[in-house]
Amino acid sequence: MVQTVASTKAGALVSTFRDEYTKAFRWMLLARTLDDKFAGLYRAGKIHGGVFLGRGQEALSVSVGLALRKGDVFAPLIRDQAGRLAFGEPILDAVRTYLGSTLGPMRGRDGNIHRGRPREGLLPMISHLGAMIAVVNGILFARRLRNISGVVGAASIGDGGTSTGSFHEAINLAAVEKLPLVLIVANNQYAYSTPTSRQFACRDLVDKAIGYGVDSHTVDGTDLSACLEVVGEAVKCAREGHGPQMVVARLLRLCGHGEHDVADYVDPELKQSPVGRDCLKVAEEHLLQQGWADARTVELWRSEMVQKAEDAVATVQREPVPDPYEEDWRALSSQRLLEAREERPG
């Protein structure tokens, strides 16, 4: 078992790392800005249904998106705005799905974070926790059957999601089949309102990996350098054929479960502890400290991201929304197998 301990050592290739770090930071900033925009729209009553943010989890998420490359597979969950952007999801996909535009990938049929582009390796999560991991397995399995190697599939899961049967079945199957799966476990201390003490009884979630015969890695999820390094290493191990890798990140959800949730159940001591640090602030301080960017540059980036978010929302707000009379109310792709009664009302 490989136990990679997080270290903030940037390594020899300082300039490459600096570029990577800066790129990651900019995606994080865009993700946070976009999330804030969605939260604002939600409060203004402009979004139907829930809004789920990745606040506090951007460092971990972006590291996944950046470690993957074209041809890889990513199954993000609800707190992965940063990872989605870094993996290549257009900003418009997020806005269109939240606002129900028919030009978006889900066309008003599904909303908010339930979006993706399966053909491009970005899986559209279903709500049922744990269910996406096996689907990633399936794509990796199919590639192997066709003798395509060097592909990695990453799936996100929360501390709560690790308690599902689906999680257990899928990680075990990935281990049995020795698939290049990277499981990213964001232990953000809560599953909705439930603390980890009510979720599992092992010392640390990372210990579960031993039982599955899976390599594991732990990382401080508030530290972007560590996340880039550890997630990068896990993805590399999977790509090189070392089988499934499990990364467990410690961090804190810095928002409600959804925007409807004030989250007054979060232990104030946790908020004050190192696990409660805001990864975006930590990353910004690091950038400034290292002299990789100055305060003015960061400010410019910030307004650039605000502009991007504003532009995307302004564009989408002028786009068509679904019309029940135009909707093709059919769930099968095989037209000839549709029952007559399912056809479009005349």
Binding site: R109, P118, I126, S127, H128, A142
Partner: protein
Amino acid sequence: MSITYLEAIREAQARALAEDPRVFIYGQDVGAFGGAFKATKNLAEEFPGRVIDSPISEDAIIGLAIGAAIDGMRPIVEMQFADFSAVGFNQVINQAATLYWRTRVPCPITIRLPAGGTSGSGPFHSQNMEAIYAHYPGLVVMTPATVEDAYHMLLEAVAIDDPVIFCEHKYLYYHLKADKLPGDAMPTGKARIAREGRDLTIVAYSAMVHEALAVAEELASEGTEIEVVDLRSVKPLDTDTVMASVARTGRLLCVGEAWPWGGVTAEVMARVAGEGFGLLDAPPQRLNAKDTPVPYHPNLWAAHRPTARSIATAARNVLRL
């Protein structure tokens, strides 16, 4: 040469594997062992690396099939018994069934469910799950009653771009034989008139078709002509053929081996009553299993599900109404 329903299922899979490199089979004990019922006998040997044993993880097996389908493959998964698909239910109804509708990416998977009662199998190896799957949009549910259909519909299931629940009846596995593999078949979505008659329509599917045919034979000697409609697939459900038959006979008895609450027989009744009320000379009737789990002991099992005897009684009833 003669071929059983079970052998037809094996042959269909062999042909699918031979003709389409995208096909593979994944399931418990399906590899060298050839499956719990031997539906994949020798296939692992004939198609190395493409007929693969899985862990006992129905959720992960079906999830894997969905992922492989997204990636362009045509997986066939075998549930060891239909009953165990309950553990993979979520992947079927929430992942596979919604994928095309949500994303326009089709999900061509075939899930084989060895279904239905056999004597001594008890509550957890006897279930009929067609109604529960048919309830969900985005799935095709096949219920072949003949060797021909077992063969051709399974080939069609693999070719169809949507997820197919293939309910193969375990009682028919060995009981049903044909002379040879059929050359041609009706397409899925069309019901079949298994026997013509003008006095009463019995609508059935899967193993119940044969019970209904036995009843038709028995009542023919009493001068009653029963028309038997084999639905072949319960989703899509061929309402037109059912309605046309009821138009001829004026009477309907719908028989299903599954439980009575809701389900396929209720759906057929609702459609006929709603769209063909004027065609009926008597109130439509239906017959299902009793509303308890499936019992183990043969005495109880035989009384639990509809049989030629209970169907004959029900048929005489409808004829008297």
